[in-house]
Amino acid sequence: MYGYMGKILRVDLSEKTTSIESLDEKMARMYIGGRGFGAKVLFDELPKGIDPLSEDNKLVFSTGPFVGTLIPGSSRCVVMAKSPLTGLLGDTDFGGYFPREMKSTGFDVIIIEGKAERPVYLWIHEGDVEIKDAAHLWGKVASATQEKILQEVKDNKAKVVCIGPGGENLVRYACIISELRYVGGRLGLGAVMGSKNLKAVVVRGEKKVAIARKKELDTLIKALNYDLVNDGSCESLIEYGTWNTTAPAQVTGILPTKNFQRTSFEGTDKIDGEAMVEKILVGRRTCYACPIRCRRVVEAETPYKVSPEYGGPQYEAVASLGSLCLNDDPVAIAKANELCNEYSLDVISTGVCIAFAMECFEKGVLTEEDIGFSLKWGDHEAMMRLIEMIAYRKGIGGILAEGVKRAASKIQGGSEKWAIHVKGLEMGMHDPRGKKGTGLSYATSHKGADHMESMHDEAFERENALPELGFTKPLSRKSKMGKALLVKTTQDYWGTMADCLVACKLPFTPPRPFTPTRVVEALNDVTDWNFSLDEFVLAGERVFNLCRSFNVREGIRRKDDVLPERLGETLKEGGSAGESFTKDDLDSLLDEYYSLRGWNKDGIPTRETLHRLGLEYVASELKDVIS
């Protein structure tokens, strides 16, 4: 089978056993890889209602057909499990070099089950799998963990993903960190690793994936690489990384500020792309086989020492640890980002939890006595203390470690209204009042308020944004018009399929040159399949509905497809002044969206829809709730 190694590794930590299963081509064609494989494993194997932090949960590392090739942006890995943050299907993904190395071990997928008696790490190399003792690593931060492991395996080409104290202490939004800078941030899968006493997964391999039409693929890759660097569409990404988003977010009024009370920040000129480049940038890095090099290397001495060893903050961290908390110090943002990476905490959820606590403090619901110190807006020294308290679950940190939804439920005092999340996942750094499609995507994604699940509205404000998928007329980012179809289509094509291939979503974003036609051409060249664009998008729709079905089985309905009440408040200033996103706005969008999806009015895929997608067995599993 071209494009795949054809093997799935299953590790049972309770029994200390490993087994190897075959990956058949039928499954590959149906679910493609990455999220598709992970969703299938978890839907098929996890009973309804299991505790995500129990040994019943399973953790799936999954690559796809693009991984291991030289397609730009293709060294990515999807990690999935039932999320301890949302109690729903959880998935996250990361880039770097680990994904390619994992596939080079000969496995497309690694399924980790059970719970080790004592801390362990997995060492997977050249077809061999060792469950190694990690008791001496427990308690160590990410950098010390990686350093020690690389000494032990005596192979400096090995690649490590690990957790720090945040994952060990079961912070519900603990992340997984690879090579200290590539982060699978969202939904608390680091806590799932911690719950299994799994400190790290280490891979090293030399196997090469077979490519069906190598000559054609090489020609395509050469053209793609040329266009990515030269056609101008990635110029801001190359020069500023994802910091290229900060100034536009300020100008358009979608920059989350003061816990989503506002969408413009008076300190933006101190933390935008220009400022960050001037003040802390010392280098750029890349993921395997990508010419864009959007990764930032940062360093600083004062007011905090920031090491270039860790990846610099990306836009999401700049906003969540910056404007959201009224912190306009670029070094403090970089330090907070570094601490999150050391402890393995998701920067978005951490920032939202801190901003929530700051609002609670401002309004007197949390006091200095509750916290142990003053927690005023913009106080970055207090932020650093709080990050450590979250990672080690000390004092108020133990409550915030539960995520903003549970924290508000515990703190009360009206604080539920200041807890900004969807389905328990803290909201990404794009205020939907100024971009209605993103709001609909937040409400309907299986993850909750994740910002990488549908293409962002701004890309469609010009003509011929994505003509191959029917988007030729400009759509105003502030308008609801056309957004149900835009979100549905790009959730399937972009949010889902990029995570099945598995590939970086940034080169796929219009007007960048990895167009739908080229994406499908690349898949066919790798696999020797003959997918049309329609079949490709249909595969995305299938996986999207499988993910929704997992959540439906857990009890998710229309009542859960909501946005925070705060978004119903009208913005008073900035580039989206006058905009709100009310319950009525969302209701009207949901009616149209469900209809386009072939879901009933309660948000459940119909039997007809599941059968059309080849998911008859899912319909059978959900027979008691579907119509």
């Binding site: 056609d231 101008g232 569409s233 110029e235 801001s236 020069e239 994802t242 290229n244 988003t245 100034a247 536009p248 977010a249 300020q250 100008v251 358009t252 979608i254 000129d269 935008d272 220009e274 959007c294 990306q314 836009y315 999401e316 794009h430 910002h451 990488m452 293409m455 962002h456 701004e458 890309a459 404000e461 010009r462 003509e463 011929n464 400009p474 105003s476 980012r477 979503k505 940034l506 974003t509 007007p511 960048r512």
Partner: protein, 92 residues
């Protein structure tokens, strides 16, 4: 007077010959007038980024940065200003 402009958008979509160019413009020209001038010279730029929005009297989906600071369409351009024109994109 001359101004140097760097474009952070798809050169193909905009029909532009290069990422960085120098233009001769009259002193004190507004950013909006300058964009319209570009649109006249490069019809693809006008079609992709200006027509729809100017017809509806809305701001085009572009971020204009002058000497490293974002500016509004009414801002004036002077000798030796360095202008950066970004397509507004986000995500990541």
């Amino acid at each position: 007077m001359s101004v140097k402009v760097k474009f952070y958008l798809s050169l193909k979509e905009a029909g532009l010959p290069g990422k960085e160019m120098t233009f001769d413009v009259k002193s004190g020209i507004s950013v909006l007038e300058f964009l319209k001038m570009l649109g006249k010279r490069y019809p693809s730029f006008k079609r992709s980024y200006l027509s729809h929005w100017l017809d509806e009297k809305k701001e085009p989906p572009l971020l204009i940065v002058k000497n490293d600071k974002p500016v509004k369409l009414g801002s004036s351009i002077e000798e030796d200003d360095y202008i950066k024109i970004f397509e507004v994109l986000s995500g990541g």
